[in-house]
C-alpha cells in the first residue's frame, strides 16, 4: 500500500491537474499547447503476484447510491474464507491494507437497499441524500461533492477513479460518459473489468504513458460529442494524421498501442479507451 501511495505521489507531476485555461503561443503558424500527462499506474497491484483485487488507496471512498449495494454484496466474495460481516466492517491486515467501508454514500437513494444504507450508516458512513435533485445523475452528485464539499481532501492533484462505470444499463453508461465530459477540467477515469476510459480535452496535447503490464494493446479514440476535423496521434498501429473523425464515418476503434508512449492532439474532446489485461 505504501509503495502504491509513493508511486502516485512520485508521479504527482504527471498527475498535475492542468490549469483551467490553455496557453497558446501562435508563432509562424505553430500553436503550442500545454502538455497533459496520463498514466494508469493506479492499476498496478500493490504487491507483485498479488491475486486479490488491487486495492486502490484513495483519500476518499464514495458510493453512488446503488453502488453501495454492490460493495456490500460483492466484497465478501473476494474473501470467502472470512466472515462477510468482518470483511464489510474491518481494516484488513496482513497482505492487504485498506477499508471496504465507504466514507460517503451520495445520490437520490432510489437504488440503495434499506438494510445496506442502515449498515453503512451504523459504521459512520456519511449519507448525503440528494433525492430532491432529479436533474443530475448519482455520479454527477458524487463528483460535485468531491469538488465542492469534501473537506480535508488534497485537491491539488486530484484524480477520481470510478469503478463499475460501464456495463449494465446503457443509459447509465452514457450518463457516466457525460459526467466526464461535463467535468472536463477534472481527471476522472472510468473503469470496467475490460476497459479504462478518460477524456482528452481539446485544449491540451496529450502524452499517455502506457503501463504495458496491466493495459493494452487494444485502444480507441472516440469523438463522442462532436465531430473532429483534425486529430493527430503517434504511438498507435493506425496513427491519425490531421484525420477527420465522426460518428457515421471514421472512429478510431480496434486500434493497437505500439509504443509505451502515445501522443494525441485534436480539435475536439476525445475519449481515450484502452483495454485492461486480465490477471
Amino acid at each position: 500500500m505504501l509503495r502504491l501511495q509513493s508511486i502516485i505521489l512520485a508521479k504527482a507531476k504527471h498527475f498535475t491537474v492542468p490549469s483551467p485555461y490553455s496557453l497558446r503561443l501562435v508563432k509562424k503558424r505553430t500553436i503550442a499547447m500545454d502538455l497533459m500527462h496520463h498514466s494508469s499506474c493506479f492499476l498496478l497491484p500493490t504487491i507483485p503476484l498479488q491475486r486479490r483485487p488491487s486495492l486502490i488507496t484513495a483519500q476518499l471512498h464514495l458510493c453512488a447510491d446503488g453502488g453501495a449495494n454492490r460493495l456490500y454484496d460483492e466484497m465478501p466474495l473476494f474473501f470467502p474464507q472470512e466472515d462477510a460481516s468482518d470483511v464489510r466492517r474491518s481494516m484488513i491486515g496482513a497482505l492487504i491494507h485498506g477499508r471496504y467501508k465507504p466514507d460517503v454514500i451520495k445520490g437520490d437513494m432510489d437504488s440503495i437497499r434499506r438494510e445496506v444504507l442502515e449498515f453503512y450508516a451504523s459504521l459512520g458512513t456519511e449519507i448525503v441524500d440528494k433525492s430532491h435533485d432529479q436533474d443530475t445523475t448519482d455520479l454527477h452528485k458524487c463528483v460535485t461533492y468531491i469538488r465542492d464539499s469534501a473537506s480535508g481532501l488534497d485537491k491539488s492533484n486530484l484524480c477520481i477513479l470510478v469503478v463499475g462505470a460501464l456495463g449494465g444499463r446503457f443509459d447509465h453508461e452514457m450518463g457516466n460518459l457525460n459526467v466526464i465530459c461535463r467535468f472536463s477540467y477534472m481527471r476522472i477515469v472510468l473503469l470496467s473489468n475490460d476497459s479504462l476510459i478518460h477524456l482528452l480535452p481539446r485544449t491540451y496535447c496529450h502524452e499517455i504513458h502506457i503501463q504495458t503490464s496491466v493495459e493494452g494493446p487494444h485502444c480507441g479514440l472516440i469523438p463522442i460529442g462532436t465531430p473532429s476535423k483534425s486529430s493527430t496521434t503517434t504511438g498507435l498501429q493506425w496513427d491519425l494524421n490531421n484525420t477527420a473523425m465522426e460518428f457515421g464515418g471514421l472512429v478510431s476503434t480496434s486500434n493497437i498501442v505500439k509504443e509505451e508512449k502515445v501522443t494525441v492532439q485534436s480539435d475536439c474532446d476525445l475519449l481515450w479507451t484502452i483495454s485492461i489485461k486480465k490477471l
Binding site: 460501464l166 446503457f170 452514457m174 450518463g175 465530459c181 480507441g220 460529442g225 472512429v251 476503434t253 474532446d269
Partner: protein, 171 residues
C-alpha cells in the same frame, strides 16, 4: 478471422456454414463487414423491411462497443438493433418523426435519448417522465439518461440522429 478459434471455425465449416475471410480489410469492423454482407445479400424487395438484431453488442472492450454504435450511424438507413442483457439500442434518424411502441412486458421503464457524435439543437418527445420540448442536448451538457417511459407510446423528433435506449426486463 483474428478472433475465431480454429476448432470453432472448422466445426461450423463442417456443418456447411459459409466462411468469408475479410482479413485484408482492416478499415472496417467485423460487424460492419457483416452488415455489408446482409445488405448486399438481401433481395431488393426485402430491404425496406429488413431488421438486423445484433446480440452481444455491448459490454466487453469499450472500443468494440463504440465501433458497434458507429455501425448504426454508418448504416442509418437500415434498422439495426443492438442488444445486451440489460439494454436495447437503435438509431432514430433525424430525417423522420418517430413513434416507439413500448412492449411493457419485456422492456422499460428506464430509457434514454443520446446525441452521440453531434449535439442536438432541438429535440422534442412525448411519453416520457421528463419530456424534451425543443430542448438542446449535447455531451458536456444535457443528455436524456435515466428517463422513464410513461405509457405505451413514445414519440421523438430531433434535428440530429439520436440513439434510443431502453432497459430490458429480467425474465
Amino acid at each position: 478471422m483474428d478472433s475465431i478459434r480454429k476448432e470453432v471455425l472448422d466445426f461450423y465449416r463442417s456443418l456447411g456454414t459459409k466462411i468469408i475471410d475479410k482479413s485484408h480489410d482492416q478499415d472496417t469492423t467485423d460487424l460492419h463487414k457483416c452488415i455489408t454482407y446482409i445488405w448486399d445479400f438481401a433481395p431488393d424487395a426485402n430491404k425496406s423491411t429488413l431488421c438486423i438484431l445484433v446480440a452481444g453488442a455491448l459490454g466487453g472492450r469499450y472500443d468494440h462497443e463504440m465501433g458497434n454504435l458507429n455501425v448504426l450511424y454508418c448504416f442509418s438507413s437500415l434498422r439495426i438493433v443492438l442488444l445486451s442483457d440489460d439494454s436495447l439500442i437503435y438509431l432514430l434518424p433525424r430525417t423522420h418523426h418517430h413513434e416507439i411502441h413500448i412492449q411493457t412486458c419485456v422492456e422499460g421503464p428506464h430509457c434514454g435519448l443520446i446525441p452521440i457524435g453531434a449535439p442536438s439543437g432541438s429535440s422534442t418527445t412525448t411519453g416520457l417522465r421528463w419530456n424534451l420540448n425543443n430542448t438542446e442536448m449535447r455531451f458536456g451538457g444535457l443528455i436524456s439518461s435515466s428517463n422513464i417511459v410513461v405509457g405505451e407510446k413514445v414519440t421523438v423528433q430531433s434535428d440530429t440522429d439520436l440513439l434510443w435506449t431502453i432497459s430490458i426486463k429480467k425474465l
